[in-house]
């Protein structure tokens, strides 16, 4: 919802000074010429008062820079349109209570790192008992029935097992992103899900360090979760999505931490 005009700039140590910091590498040996190249590079980015704070020999033919400058960019914060939070994020006990009261059965979730990807760190963080950054995983929620199938699970197998368990939601984790293998595999998952008639029926979620909500939607998932996602974010999303499907919450209900 757009509001009143509210211009903002980057904040260094005083209002509206526009100061930002950045670091990058140029494939040239360290020299005065390299530093000037870094300065010009940042000027071309639109920065003012560029200060090359550090120029370090990252290798014989590579120089690493830390640069400060002022960005002459002003945004009207009031014009930024992000759906308003109606529901605050529910904690562990509150969310379990909501499932118990409104769904009255355990919510079944299956997850795996599918395709050739062997990295379970993402799916483990969301599903395993332990969770991530002090936030419990779905296995710990008494009102979730969560299954972590591990890594290198074929998409077909995940979908078959999800059907057998009548899963409410399926989580696909993708860590390896070289040559966009995560996108190809995500698409293939959706193709299989469609063939099994799960699309639109089961909640299909994609997660990973290079995943965002927009990408997941493009690939055909219901939502995407990127870096920093806590298990409770995913848990809240699944419960609200289920309640919407059941007609117990309005379609346009928005909640804190929802994928955007």
């Amino acid at each position: 919802m757009a509001g009143e005009s509210h211009p903002i700039r980057a904040y260094g140590d005083r209002r509206d000074d526009g100061v930002i910091q950045l670091s990058f590498t140029l494939p040239v040996p360290l020299s005065d010429k390299a530093k000037e190249a870094a300065r010009q590079f940042c000027t071309r980015l639109g920065l003012l008062d560029v200060k090359v704070a550090a120029a370090e020999p990252a290798a014989d033919n590579y120089t690493f820079f830390v640069v400060y400058g002022r960005a002459d960019v002003s945004l009207d914060y009031g014009s930024i349109d992000v759906p308003e939070i109606v529901f605050r994020k529910l904690g562990f006990d509150e969310l379990n209570k909501l499932i118990e009261d409104s769904i009255s059965r355990r919510v079944v979730v299956l997850g795996a790192c599918t395709g050739t990807d062997t990295h379970t760190v993402g799916i483990d963080a969301i599903l395993n008992m332990k969770g991530y950054a002090g936030d419990y995983g779905l296995e710990r929620y008494p009102w979730f029935e969560a299954y972590n199938l591990g890594s290198q699970v074929p998409n077909e197998e995940l979908i078959r097992k999800a059907e057998a368990r009548k899963a409410d939601a399926i989580l696909v984790s993708q860590v390896v992103t070289q040559r966009d293998v995560h996108k190809d595999n995500g698409r293939q998952f959706i193709d299989v899900a469609k063939a099994h008639g799960l699309k639109g029926k089961t909640i299909l979620l994609l997660g990973g360090p290079r995943v965002d909500h927009k990408l997941a939607m493009e690939l055909g998932f219901d939502a995407g979760f990127g870096p920093g996602t806590k298990p409770s974010d995913v848990a809240n999303y699944i419960v609200h999505a289920l309640l919407k499907k059941m007609g117990k919450e309005p379609e346009d209900l928005h909640f804190e931490g929802e994928p955007a």
């Binding site: 590579y62 760190v121 360090p209």
Partner: protein, 516 residues
């Protein structure tokens, strides 16, 4: 040395239990071979090419022999038979064996059999001598250009393209890296063959091939000479081709291999029997080639909780050590793995991490050890992440780790940028320089939190080792005691490649490597 924490007698007792734990596994190892061990035998004879369709000749030959039900007599025997038939080259040998109808695979007269084996044994001895000569060349270069003092700073390259890897590895060495590891392409551990030739396409890493090993080692030899510091190279001897990779690494003068007696079982769901048999032969090759192994206990505490499962790391290290010693490896070759992985949101984690690393140093005083950085609880705030990694640098120098894999501030985001390695190397260099000798200056109080925690973890490790002795290692793994992962003896991938040796099984390399 920071603290005894536990008596020498208790450490010796743990070691004794571990060797009892592995004893039943050695019955299995003695009585069986695997298709991968037999392919390694053929590689040792120099069969390194690929045939039509890029399939390695070793696979073509062993698959054929296995299908005929005769591979359990040993690939070396059939190699001899092919020579006997007049094979002029490895490909010719494969073709001649493949062309033989099953009826023609019957034994020859005792006289001819004896001569054939003697001839093959002599050829095996010559092959091992040639391997030793290559290893001596590597060792001469190591002596000519000594490394910086430990902890040796270990960084990873993983572009998927061996030529890009070379650029990144050289850059890392120039920035101060002591050891380079080339990470393998995702899922290579599940391939039941070793890909062939130089590769430029990989996912999450670069295929481990003998040619890729050669290309990288050649580049690092050049860089070692330029920097006047020897830069060791590391790859992965794990998965379904442990022994074949160990051979390729030995031949191409690699210095280290990730090699764990149980990792494949737990984390790649490779069959237990297959892994136990393969790891033994692979480690025999590492022992001969002076390759330092890196074990994977750090992985236990990325799946299980690092605080709760700390004892599983120590118990597994005793087991890995016992397996390694039985394969002829010496203490200086044991890069036993552990890591800085306790949830940083807890209080006193520096004390807990120091306790764990000090306990492991206490139990394995002569092993280099391999210290891994935080990964599981890494967040995407790179500034916090960098500070978090630096604490691992401090623990590494304090506990005299031989090998330290440096944490990357962009862990949990993407494969490291070139500058991420530079930043990690610069700060680790500073911490190691600043704190060298700190362990000599501070005595850890025996009645404090660090010592009490170490005693507690050691006690739980002893309980787990006792359980493994009582119930058997297979049962303990079945109960998910290591890394919270449960595996069964006949589950997992690769069991079909395990064979009981026939009474006249022939493997002259095993005899040579075992010193017989």
């Amino acid at each position: 040395m920071p603290g005894p924490f536990v008596d020498d007698a208790q450490v010796a007792q743990a070691r004794g239990i571990a060797s009892e734990v592995i004893e039943p596994v050695f019955d299995l190892i003695r009585r069986h071979t695997t298709i991968s061990v037999e392919r390694t035998v053929l590689r040792l004879f120099g069969m390194s090419d690929a045939g039509p369709g890029g399939i390695p000749l070793t696979n073509l030959m062993t698959d054929r022999l296995k299908a005929a039900g005769v591979l359990n007599r040993g690939a070396a025997y059939w190699y001899g038979r092919a020579l006997h038939l007049g094979a002029a080259s490895p490909l010719d040998a494969v073709e001649r064996i493949a062309a033989l109808p099953a009826a023609k695979l019957a034994p020859l007269s005792p006289q001819v059999e004896g001569n054939l084996r003697e001839e093959v044994r002599r050829e095996a001895e010559a092959a091992v001598d040639e391997l030793r000569r290559r290893i001596d060349e590597r060792d001469a270069l190591r002596r000519e250009f000594p490394m910086s003092p430990a902890p040796h700073r270990y960084v990873i390259v993983a572009t998927g393209n061996i030529y890009d890897d070379v650029d990144q590895a050289r850059a890392a060495a120039q920035a101060g890296a002591d050891i380079i590891a080339v990470i393998r392409s995702t899922a290579q551990s599940l391939l039941d063959y070793v890909p062939h030739g130089a590769t430029t396409e990989g996912y999450g890493g670069t295929y481990a091939t003998q040619e890729n090993f050669r290309i990288m080692r050649e580049a690092l030899d050049a860089e070692s000479r330029r920097l006047k510091r020897y830069i060791p190279l590391t790859n992965y001897s794990s998965g379904l081709c442990m022994a074949e990779i160990a051979f390729a690494a030995a031949w191409e003068k690699l210095d280290m291999l990730l090699n764990d007696a149980m990792y494949g079982i737990l984390f790649r769901d490779i069959n237990m029997r297959r892994t136990f048999i393969d790891q033994y032969f692979s480690r025999r090759i590492c022992a001969l080639a002076g390759i330092i192994i890196n074990t994977g206990e750090d992985n236990y505490i990325t799946t299980a909780d690092a605080y709760d499962a700390a004892h599983t790391v120590v118990a597994s290290q005793f087991i890995n050590e016992a397996f390694a010693k039985r394969a002829g490896l010496q203490d200086w070759q044991l890069g036993l793995g552990h890591s800085y992985e306790i949830d940083p949101h807890r209080p006193e984690t520096l004390l807990l991490e120091l306790s764990q690393a000090m306990l492991i140093r206490r139990c394995f005083p002569d092993a280099p050890l391999k210290y891994m950085p935080p990964t599981k609880h890494k967040e995407t705030d790179i500034f916090f992440s960098h500070a978090y990694d630096v604490m691992a640098d401090l623990v590494a120098i304090w506990t005299r780790q031989g090998i330290q894999l440096l944490g990357m501030m962009t862990e949990a985001m993407h494969t490291p940028l070139l500058a991420d390695r530079y930043v990690a190397l610069k700060s680790a260099g500073y911490i190691h320089r600043a704190a060298r000798g700190i362990d000599q200056e501070f005595v850890v109080r025996e009645d404090g939190k660090i010592a009490n925690r170490a005693r507690f973890v050691f006690g739980k490790s002893m309980e787990l080792l006792e359980e493994c002795r009582k119930d058997g290692l297979v049962t303990a793994i079945g109960h998910g005691r290591f890394g919270d992962v449960k595996r069964s003896e006949t589950g997992g991938k690769g069991l079909e490649g395990v064979m009981e040796k026939s009474p006249d099984y022939f493997n002259p390399f095993l005899d040579i490597l075992e010193g017989r």
